[in-house]
């Protein structure tokens, strides 16, 4: 057993427990995005930062990857931690403003403004879907590709993976895009990733071929490449796009 101090409370836990688990067990809430029970800790979203150590040696660490240590002094909501979390949430809002999960978290942390350049990504690179696919679904159909600012998540070669079973697990866990796909109801299964009001993947007859899970939408791309859209539909799509622009 390891004895450590959380927010002034002396607690003892099993060896190998992470600070996040300890904190949550003793009732100190820590917000997370990339953490999920059953998946290996990853430390990508940085939302779970806590402050450890004392005085000038105090530092911020991600609690989801930091194992409990003997005599460790942890503060889960010091001024420094809260400030860091708010900036992280602001940055997340700057990249993925449409995510309900991030919006709710930002609201809960009383964030009223966003000072960074606004982007409209639909991925925060938290790697939840990649770990879900590998560790729970045993498929390894999707993974990280590229590096740096061109890093993306998806299937190799952007074609449908042979090992993907269309389980939808990746969509289910995604904090940035989970509300945009209903999967089980084919009529509502619009990914929105292509921002196409008449998505080609809906026009496709067999449901088994629908694959709206990853961005870019593979079905849309293949369909667009193999057959040119009929002129009538093209017109309709264009009109709809203009309408959106007008609204915006």
């Amino acid at each position: 057993m390891i004895t450590l101090n959380i927010n002034g409370l002396s607690v003892s836990v099993e060896k190998g427990t992470t600070l996040l688990e300890v904190s949550r067990f003793y009732g100190f809430p820590i917000p997370t995005l990339c953490h999920m029970e059953g998946l290996s800790p990853y430390g990508a979203c940085r939302l779970c930062v806590v402050e450890i150590g004392e005085g000038p040696r105090a530092k911020l660490v991600t609690s989801c990857t930091y194992p409990a240590e003997e005599g460790l002094k942890v503060r889960t909501s010091s001024a420094r931690v809260v400030r860091a979390r708010k900036v992280i949430l602001e940055l997340l809002l700057a990249s993925c403003p449409q995510s309900k999960v991030i919006q709710d978290l930002a609201s809960a942390h009383n964030i009223r403004r966003q000072r960074f350049r606004q982007e409209h990504e639909d991925c925060i690179m938290c790697g939840l879907c990649v770990r879900m696919c590998e560790e729970q679904m045993m498929a390894k159909a999707i993974g990280f590709r590229g590096r740096g600012e061109t890093r993306t998540i998806g299937t190799p070669f952007d074609i449908r993976s042979e090992v993907c079973r269309l389980c939808g697990g990746c969509i289910y866990v995604c904090p940035a895009c989970q509300l945009r796909c209903t999967y089980t109801d084919p009529d509502k299964a619009i990914c929105g990733g292509c921002a196409n009001l008449s998505p080609p993947c809906l026009e496709k007859e067999p449901f088994e071929d629908m694959m709206c899970y990853m961005e870019p939408c593979v079905a849309c791309e293949i369909t667009a490449a193999s057959k040119k859209p009929e002129t009538g539909r093209e017109k309709e799509g264009k009109g709809a796009g203009d309408a959106i622009e007008d609204i915006l």
Binding site: G143, R145, R147, T155, P156, S161, V163, D209, S226
Partner: protein
């Protein structure tokens, strides 16, 4: 019928005229993707057979790690990483395609698209930038009619921009196939392209101080290999007997250290490992070591004045060592 077949059928029926004659794999044809038309009689699917890759993969072990080494070897063989080769690598090593694709896309030295014969890198680092590297890069793009990152239609050049080559004092720097060009400006671009086309390995033996002649002899009988009757690069050549496959004939190497000029009775295909024999005692000249670059046996010769010269026996490999005694 699986998805791949369905897709292929669709593609075939839509544009039947674009059918590649060799492999019928339009969907995976990198030439079609990169150049807009499939390459006829491409060696891709002839070359990339499980058996051809198995040797490469098994050499580096398939248990753990080794992906980078395998991919490097595959790229050395084909010049890029064909999709089919990645699939086979995944199959053979038992790793998932996602891992291998992740590694292949992570490193800039790996390319998933066919690359040209010459790799041309223009430095856009800070030091080069302030000296006008942008204009140099633009000039290269215009002269070659490609965008940075792409390959010319004749598959001669692949143009890359890089962020720093570590030779800032020489900037703006351009590198073609490992040869550095310093203080490049827009007017020098054309000569660099022309030089690259004619071959950069031809050294100017008269002026380059790195190039000096060596007199070599057989390590067994100590008879000289030098042949004053036939000059290569203006110096007596090194004459040995070379054997490969069922061919057997003379081979003359330039005696200039730093020059790779070579003449032979029979043309030696690239990548062939050649057995060298002494024309006097007819013993095979073989070194005790193997090439650190390609693993082929090294050939050892005594250098007059003291020393041992070792050259790689694989045609095209330029690895050599000169040990002074």
């Amino acid at each position: 019928m699986n998805r791949a077949e369905k897709g292929e059928e669709a593609l075939l029926s839509d544009k039947g005229e674009g059918l590649c004659a060799t492999c019928l794999h339009l969907e995976t044809c990198e030439y079609l993707r990169s150049f807009g038309s499939p390459r006829f009689e491409c060696d891709e699917f002839e070359g990339i057979r499980p058996s051809a890759l198995a040797g490469i993969i098994d050499k580096f072990g398939s248990a753990h790690g080794g992906i980078i080494s395998i991919l490097e070897a595959v790229q050395a063989k084909y010049g890029y990483l064909p999709r089919h080769a990645l699939n086979l690598t995944a199959e053979r090593t038992g790793r998932s395609l996602v891992d291998i694709y992740g590694v292949a896309t992570f490193y800039k030295s790996f390319s998933l698209k066919p690359r040209g014969k010459h790799l041309l890198s223009v430095c856009l680092g800070t030091a080069c930038h302030v000296r006008g590297a942008q204009a140099v890069a633009r000039e290269f793009e215009e002269r070659l009619d490609v965008k940075a990152g792409d390959t010319t239609a004749d598959k001669e050049f692949t143009l890359h921009t890089v962020n720093c080559l570590g030779a800032c004092a020489l900037g703006p720097v351009a590198v073609v196939d490992g040869h550095y060009f310093s203080k490049v400006n827009a007017s020098k671009v054309r000569s660099i392209i022309d030089k690259s086309k004619t071959g950069l390995d031809a050294v100017d033996a008269e002026t380059d101080i790195r190039v000096f002649p060596l007199e070599t002899s057989c390590p067994r009988c100590n008879h000289s290999f030098m042949d004053p009757e036939r000059l290569l690069d203006g110096h007596p050549s090194i004459r040995v007997t070379a054997a490969f496959a069922d061919k057997h004939g003379w081979l003359r190497l330039s005696s200039l250290y730093g020059s790779y000029s070579v003449e032979s009775e029979d043309p030696i295909p690239k990548d062939t490992i050649v057995n060298f024999f002494c024309p006097h005692c007819h013993a095979e000249i073989a070194g005790a070591t193997v090439c650190t670059d390609c693993g082929a046996p090294m050939v050892a010769m005594i250098v007059r004045g003291g020393g041992m010269l070792q050259i790689c026996s694989r045609r095209g490999c330029k690895n050599h060592m000169f040990d002074l005694v």
